[in-house]
Every structure is written in C-alpha cells, then in structure tokens.
Amino acid sequence: MKKDLLGIGDLTRDEIYLILDTAEAMREIGQRPIKKVPTLRGKTVVNLFYEPSTRTRTSFEIAEKRLSADTLNIAVATSSVLKGETLVDTAMNIEAMAPDVIVLRHASSGACHVLSRICRSRVINAGDGMHEHPTQALLDAFTIREHKKRIDGLKVVIVGDLLHSRVLRSNVLLLTELGADVWVCGPSTLVPIGVERLGVRVSTSVEEAVKDADVIMMLRIQHERMQGAFIPSVREYFNTFGMTPARVSRAKPDVIIMHPGPMNRGVEIASEVADGPYSVILEQVANGVAVRMAVLYLLAGGVED
C-alpha cells in the first residue's frame, strides 16, 4: 500500500481485497469480551475533523482504540481554526508533534492531497468535499460481499444527490473495479456532467434503475452543499425519487438497501424501507469499525520508511 489512503483510485484490486479480508479478521475482535489488541501500541492518531461527523469520527476513534493507538480528536469548533489559522499551518503544527497518522475530514475537495504532500505522517481521507470518502466505499463493499458473497456481476443502483456526493465517487470507483454493474439515478440537476465516463449507467427514472437490482444504495440530499435550486421541493423529490416499499418491490427479492447516513427520513428514503427487512444500514455502521481497523493496521502497523 502507498503511504496514505486518499482515495479508492490509489488502491489496486489486490489491495482492495487485502483490506476487505483483513477487515474480516478485525471484525472478530469486536465480538470479544476484551475488544482490544496491542497492535498500534505507542502510535498516535490525530482525528482532524473540519466538518460535523458522528458516524465516521466515532467509527475511526473506536477502531483506533481497539488497536491500542493513542488518539486525539480536534474538532474545528474548539480549535485555532476559528482564530484564522489555515489548514496547512494547523497541519504543520500537528505534524511537529509527530503523530503517526492523521485522519482528515474537510469540506474542500483535495484537502487530503495537500496534507499528504506536506506531512510525514500517514494521511487517511475521512471525506474531502465532493471528492472521495474511501473508507465508506470499503465498508459498503464489505457489507455487500458479506450478503452476496461476491461483487462481480451484481447490479448496484445508487440513487440520490449524485452531484454533491463523495460517497458516490468512491463507491463507483470501487464497485466498477470489482466488476459490479453500477447504475446511478437522480434528478438531472443532481447528475454530475460526464458521470457515465466512470463506467456507470445513468437513469433519471427510479422505477427503471431499481428493476432487478441486487443492491440499492441511497444517498442523502445534501442541503448544506446546495447553493441554488436543485430540487423543486422535498416533497416532490420524495414522490419522484424517494425509496418506497413499492419501488423496492421492483428489485430482486433478496435486495439489500444501504445508506451511508445520516438519513433524511421521508426525503430520500421512507421509514418503512430504512427500518425494513432488507435494510443493512446499521450493519454498515458496525462494519465500518472493522474496515477502518484494517486500513489503520495496513497503513500504520509497520515501521516508518
């Protein structure tokens, strides 16, 4: 593996499988009475989060603690960023205290790449703007593989706000690399120009897209990133694209429903679907810890170069 995990594009197919296989072993640690192994003892991991996050930050922190790393969290709301410090200056100051890994969440696409160039520490991208969120895609693939025993040849449909989604890009790169037949679906105002060049099929009809799907992955409507009128109203969006039991019934009988969270119930997904029998949304959260442990071990488990 490379020094940093900035995006799925950095990984070879073999490395993706190595992470997923290692995560299988890591998951067992979470089922023990003592959920901790000494692997990263003496290593320091800084979680630097410039955007609000519950799931991802908690998941990384639990993963780090289960591997015995020393962790600290910098939430921007209580940091010197509010006094005007730039990302680079903040990073250089953290770097001066010699952490082994920096986990970065930032609203700007490419922020991790900037850090990667200036830091000796290993950098893990925990979501950068509208670009990538690699550990989310890895945990999604892990969850799909657990249910379907394969990824190759599956019809995976990703529905929602495609334009603002880093989860979309990471998932498309990963799933197409592993041979899935990926469809993306959303209102034309939220379909990124040129998305078909990533090797996906584009549809603006949910009914068409979900037909015979093995996996339906919902994306959140990201109001906070929308500057302009992309959808007429939340109600109309739900009527046209919301995942309802009727739409789910067009997919394969053993379809699984995924969502990276946080969910907007009644906007992109109906509560009956989110809490229904096909939903693996909470499994995704549980698997996130195992996948992040695998990434941390594979990046930081050895000596520095």
């Binding site: 593996m1 290692t22 890591m26 009475p33 003592i34 192994v37 000494p38 692997t39 488990g301 050895g302």
Partner: protein, 180 residues
C-alpha cells in the same frame, strides 16, 4: 534437505501426545475442562487431529478453536517496510474461562510466537491452565518457554529451516529440514 518425519511417524507422535494429554489431565473433571486451540496456520489441523485421536481413545469431544497471533507479534514495528503480515480470523467458539487450554503449534523455535499467543489467549478470558503442544521442538529459545508435549525434539543449527507439511494444507504429511 532431509526428511526428519514421515506420515507414519507423524501419526504415531500425535497419537502418543493424545495419550499423554489424557494421562496428565487425569482428574475426574479434567477431561471436561480441556479445550484445544490451534495456532494459525499449521497448528489448526494438528489440533483437529489431536481432538480426533482423543475422541478415538475415550469418545470425548474436545472443543477446538483457531488463534491468529499476527496482531500480537513483537516484531511488527521492526521489520523493514514491506507488506504487513496477513491477519486471519481467530475463531474460538467457546469460553476459555476455567478451561485447561491445550495450545498447539507446529514448530517451537524462539518462543516469541508462543509469547504472543499467551497474550492473545489472556484477552479471551482466564483459563485454569495453558499447556503447550508442538509437533517439533527445534531449540534456540529466546524466551523462558517450554513445551509440555513434544512430537519430536530436533537439534538444529540457526542456518537451517524446519518445514512442516500437512495433508490438509500441503497435500502430504512430512517434516523436512533444509539449509537456508
């Protein structure tokens, strides 16, 4: 390269170890407290064979698990940069509390793997006792660790390597020693 143990000798060694286990754990409740834990990779099939041998002697079913010690290794931070050792699943489908754990490995050498295994086991609970079974003891210990049951004591030099082959993994039962 020399073959120091063939399939026949391996079978007899494991049968003898099964008998020794029952002799050493002869108290009225001892057998019920026994559990085998094989260390990945080759300790796992050896543990299963010992379980089968004990079943053949007294019809007792000894619970058997598999332990991967990669995350407990003391040399993870010392190796030159390269791929990390592959972590495989630990599967211990029973509580080890108050059990007599029979830890199984193929070759006993420096003792560092066993040290890691002891740490790993203690994280699963508090066994009544841990006893060590190895197919081959090749000497050169770096830690104060000794096996309770040994298939074969094999004097070696540090320049030699000992390879255990098992039918379940390698297609044949054989122990060989080679100059490296």
């Amino acid at each position: 390269m020399a073959i120091v143990m063939d399939a026949d000798r391996m079978g007899r060694s494991l049968a003898r170890i099964a008998h020794e286990i029952l002799e050493r754990n002869a108290g009225p409740t001892d057998v019920d407290e026994l559990a085998l834990v094989g260390m990945r990779t080759r300790g796992v099939p050896i543990a299963k064979r010992i379980a089968a041998a004990i079943r053949g002697i007294n019809a007792h079913e000894i619970p058997t698990g598999a332990l991967d010690i990669t995350l407990y290794r003391d040399d993870l931070m010392r190796h030159a940069v390269g791929p990390q050792p592959l972590v495989r699943r630990t599967e211990i489908p029973f509580s080890i509390d108050d059990k007599r754990i029979l830890l199984v490995d193929d070759v006993l050498y420096t003792g560092r793997t066993i040290r890691a295994a002891l740490d790993a086991l203690i994280d699963f609970g508090r066994p009544k006792a841990i006893q060590l079974i190895v197919l081959v003891d090749r000497g050169h210990r770096e830690l104060p660790i000794k096996a309770d049951y040994v298939g074969k004591n094999l004097p070696t030099s540090l320049s030699q390597s000992v390879q255990v082959h098992l039918t379940e993994i390698d297609g044949r039962d054989e122990v060989e020693i080679r100059e490296s």
